[in-house]
């Protein structure tokens, strides 16, 4: 057997092919060939994949996409435009990973493929400029993001929004962007730190010390939710710090083929949190939390940050899970019009990355069920992606729209008053869904934290 082992170690991990096509060469270099080989093509991922479910065709499935990646790496096909488009069709929801018997890291493969494609992207000067502005100019910079928030707030509040809308100028934009613009919440230049500072003490006895990851989109569009997160945590016995130097998590970059920028952001966050002396790093956005929890993988090739990343990732936890499993039991009561006998029905849309990557689907449900006067109605296929998927609903509006329509059929069937989620992207998408397909039911899409905070018996202030 020793001989066999020696022989095995001599087996090349990747085929030694000198590809003529530059993208094939980059893909072969960047794709984890072990993962490509691990896919045994059993097909168990097909029923879990939203794009396969919508289209019923093999290339639109995880098994199909992995086969395409491998075919390019093996030189069986050229990476044509259809190949590049197919890699973009994937929502990145990673619902295929928990059902994969062979434990293939599909999420990593699709990011590696997009990263390689991005290296060879041929974009017009304008598109390149917008992309650079967004990914390298705005998201990584706290100050610029804040400025953008202020500009957006100014746009919304100054009457400019009204002017733009009434002028018909929005008609110049594609329909899906117009719809998105209309459901954006009031942006703000005042984030969570500007509102409550960088430290918030635990109420009564301290259970643990935690740091809030405030997120970039969260803190501009949902700053109030961040504040509520801190106050809920404090109420459950957590002392909360909010490291000032933290930046965007890098998830949108990682999912869009900007792995290097994502790594830079990760390193900056590691520095920002390393001296905070905390037990947990709390996220209230499934999409951010999932990447934070995978910083160890993202930086595994970086010897100077590898250990710090492992320690960081092991502390990352979603707010629902922390409250449900580690915190003091919170007392949630009914609010609103007296204590009428009738109950409020709520339903929940899983955040894909919270469920599939962070493995947390029970905790939010437990919390909702604990609220007095609330009936929890499980939505059919709540575990299926809503079509938001980072910026997917902007880049792939047709598929996202189709998925959203089916999603809302299930949501409407629950007859819920509140449709709760755990991620800002999902929340915006659910608001869009209610607006387009809610049939005037009065359903309201809300972040689970805001819902719970509103039902806390005797809030601290």
């Amino acid at each position: 057997m020793a001989e066999a082992k020696a022989a095995a170690s001599a087996v090349p991990k990747k085929p030694a092919i000198d590809h003529a096509h530059p993208l094939s060469r980059t893909l072969l270099a960047k794709l984890d060939y072990d993962q490509l080989t691990n896919c045994m093509r059993c097909g168990f991922c097909l029923p879990a994949c939203p794009t396969f479910r919508e289209t019923g065709v093999e290339p639109e499935s995880p098994r199909g996409r992995i086969a395409l990646m491998k075919a390019v790496a093996d030189g069986l096909m050229e990476p044509d435009q259809a190949f590049r488009d197919q890699m973009d069709h994937c929502l990145g929801c990673r619902a295929c990973e928990p059902v994969c018997p062979a434990d293939v890291k599909y999420g990593q493969l699709i990011e590696q493929a997009r990263d390689a494609i991005e290296d060879h992207a041929e974009r017009g000067i304008a598109a390149r400029g917008v992309r650079r502005l967004l990914f390298q100019g705005i998201f990584p910079s706290r100050r610029r993001l804040r400025l953008l928030g202020k500009a957006l707030a100014f746009y919304q509040k100054s009457g400019l929004r009204r002017l733009v809308r009434s002028s018909g100028m929005m008609k110049l934009f594609p329909e899906h962007l117009r719809e998105m613009e209309s459901i954006l919440p009031e942006a703000t230049g005042r984030g969570v730190i500007e509102r409550i500072g960088t430290f918030y003490p635990a109420n009564k006895e301290k259970v643990a010390r935690v740091a809030l990851f405030r997120g970039c989109v969260m803190d501009v569009l949902f700053a109030e939710t961040n504040v509520h997160t801190v106050k809920l945590l404090a109420e459950a016995g957590f002392e909360v710090v909010i490291p000032r130097d933290q930046v965007c998590c890098g998830a949108l970059h990682a999912h869009s083929g900007e792995l290097e920028t994502a790594r830079d952001l990760a390193r900056r966050n590691l520095e920002a949190f390393k001296d905070a002396g905390i037990d947990y790093i709390v996220s209230n956005a499934g999409g951010c939390g999932a990447l934070l929890a995978e910083y160890d993988h993202l930086l595994q090739q970086d010897p100077s940050y590898r250990e710090l990343a492992a320690s960081f990732s092991s502390r990352v936890i979603d707010v629902s899970r922390l409250l449900a499993e580690r915190g003091r039991l919170l007392d949630f009561a009914e609010t609103g019009a007296g204590s009428a006998a009738e109950t409020t029905t709520v339903t929940y849309q899983d955040s894909c990355h919270l469920r599939n990557v962070m493995g947390s689907s029970d905790a939010p449900r437990h919390l909702m069920k604990r609220v007095a006067g609330v009936t929890f109605a499980e939505m059919r296929e709540a575990d299926r992606c809503c079509g938001s998927a980072g910026i997917y609903n902007v880049t792939q509006p047709e598929m996202a729209g189709q998925i959203l329509e089916h999603k809302m059929e299930h949501a409407n069937a629950t007859k819920a008053r509140y449709l709760l989620t755990s991620n800002p992207g999902c929340l915006l998408q659910m608001r869009l869904g209610v607006m387009k397909h809610g049939n005037g039911s009065g359903m309201e899409a809300m972040h689970i934290v805001d819902f719970l905070y509103g039902r806390l018996s005797g809030p601290p202030d």
């Binding site: 095995a8 080989t37 045994m40 168990f44 065709v57 290339p59 096909m77 259809a82």
Partner: protein, 471 residues
């Protein structure tokens, strides 16, 4: 690349977007669940109904282009890999449940319907369709019929072939035939229904199936028996049958399988056991209680280390999850997983497990074994790495000897996966030269121009597995 006139005609039949020959479509239909096997088709077509299937077949027959019908492509014998090119026909659009006949207890379905969806629907009507291949969440009824799929309940309830009582199929000429019907008895001529079941798409294309349904058992109990002695477990299997008890399920897992299943499904299985038997009995509550009691005694007398009887449905599902995850969980040990289905008379299970271990040791390869022990259908599963040519060669030698051993013990080379490409070289060992000649005669009668799924079942001289050359 097919003739331009032919592709034009195919597009006319199914509509522009339902025939594809772009690289993406070709690559995505060049494989199935079989390791180390890949071959590109010339085109991919998605028919909407039987009439289209017939028209497509006529067009292909005129041009002598092969056709490979395919459901979800989850089979393990290379049954749907287009090894000689041609057009892959994906049946997913033909996925409707056409009828459930409550008076005759039959269901009529299109071939593209997913097996698990069909089962769930039938159960919601208070009926039961027993075949339950492990891939049922994604496999299709049509694929199950073509491959003659089995499953965990095969011992007591039989396999897919025992539930197909009528078929509509398109012949290689494009003609449509109907066989059988909603009939429990039918002695009119050769039984073409049963002939088509398990014919692996080499005789006709199944476009509709009438399936027999049965009343569900009133009660069911699930138990696990764990052994530190492998042979005690194997003897238990033989003794249960000897005691004239036919359990609904009688499944076996050896130690390497137990370990990986536990890693995968986090079930808290004891990792020091050499074997686990998963046993289920269903039927009238009194019978179930009595049988489980007697089985328990047998397990005890064969010195089972631990015996667990599930108290409720939830616990039972958990015990079942262990076995259902076995094949796929094994894939985690090494990159490549090769799963076979050598089958022996159930009285020879202990001998077969012993032989598999011997052979694996001799060739220095890792083979974990689990399977449907009650019907003698074992799944020796090699965990290896397709990139290691030398090791793969040893794995292939080991499997060849395992097939030989199975035949020697009065068994067969495949219990439920089918022959396809993978086991074609060994078919003659099982059926003999005369048997092959009869089968060839049947093939030629149905498909004189060798258009339906060519390269399957019958081996060409010295045909071996096609390993992608990274050379």
């Amino acid at each position: 690349m097919l003739d331009a006139a032919l592709t034009r005609r195919l597009r006319q039949i199914v509509g522009e977007k339902h025939y594809r020959d772009d690289p993406e479509a070709l690559v995505a239909h060049s494989y199935d669940g079989t390791p180390m096997l890949q071959s590109l088709p010339d085109g991919v077509i998605y028919p909407a109904d039987t009439a289209q299937v017939s028209e497509i077949m006529k067009a292909l027959a005129e041009h002598r282009v092969p056709l490979i019908a395919r459901g979800s492509g989850s089979n393990l014998c290379g049954g749907t890999v287009p090894v000689e090119g041609g057009v892959v026909m994906v049946m997913h659009r033909m996925n409707r449940l056409l009828e459930v006949d409550l008076e005759n207890l039959t269901a009529t379905v299109q071939p593209g319907m997913i097996t698990a969806a069909f089962n769930a629907h039938v159960e919601s009507l208070g009926l039961f369709y027993p075949p339950d291949p492990s891939s049922m969440k994604i496999s299709t009824i049509g694929g199950n019929i073509a491959e003659g799929s089995g499953g965990l309940r095969g011992l007591k309830y039989g396999t897919t072939k025992d539930y197909v009582i009528g078929l509509e199929a398109v012949l290689a000429s494009g003609e449509i035939i109907r066989t059988g019907g909603k009939l429990m008895k039918d002695a009119a001529g050769y039984d073409l229904t049963k002939l088509l079941v398990g014919s692996e798409g080499t005789l006709a294309i199944i476009t509709e199936a009438t399936l027999k349904l049965v009343p569900p058992p009133a009660a069911k109990k699930t138990m696990l028996a764990m052994y530190k002695d492998l042979y005690g477990a194997a003897r238990t299997v033989s003794r249960i049958i000897e005691a004239k008890i036919i359990p609904a399920t009688l499944e076996f897992m050896d130690n390497p399988t137990i370990r990986v299943v536990d890693d995968f499904a986090k079930l808290g299985l004891p990792r020091d056991m050499e074997a686990i038997l998963l046993i289920e009995q269903d039927g009238e509550p009194e019978t179930v209680e009595r049988d489980i009691g007697r089985i328990r005694q047998i397990c005890e007398s064969e010195r089972a280390d631990r015996i667990e009887v599930a108290e409720n449905r939830e616990q039972a599902e958990k015990l079942l999850t262990a076995r259902r995850s076995a094949f796929t969980a094994l894939a985690r040990i090494r990159p490549t997983t090769i799963l076979e289905d050598a089958t022996v008379p159930r009285s020879r299970i202990a001998d077969m497990v012993l032989r598999i271990n011997e052979i694996a040791g001799k060739h220095g390869v890792s083979i974990a074994t689990f399977g449907h022990a009650g019907d003698g259908n074992l799944h020796p599963t090699a965990t290896t790495d397709a990139r290691d040519r030398e090791e793969i060669h040893r794995v292939e030698q080991a499997f060849q000897e395992i097939f030989e051993a199975a035949i020697e013990l009065g068994g067969t080379i495949t219990g439920e996966h089918g022959v396809g490409v993978v086991k074609a070289p060994f078919l003659e060992w099982k059926v003999g030269a005369a048997g092959i000649e009869v089968m060839r005669g049947i093939k030629n009668a149905f498909d004189p121009h060798q258009l339906l799924n060519p390269g399957k079942v019958f081996a060409k001289a010295a045909r071996k597995r096609v390993v992608i050359d990274h050379g």
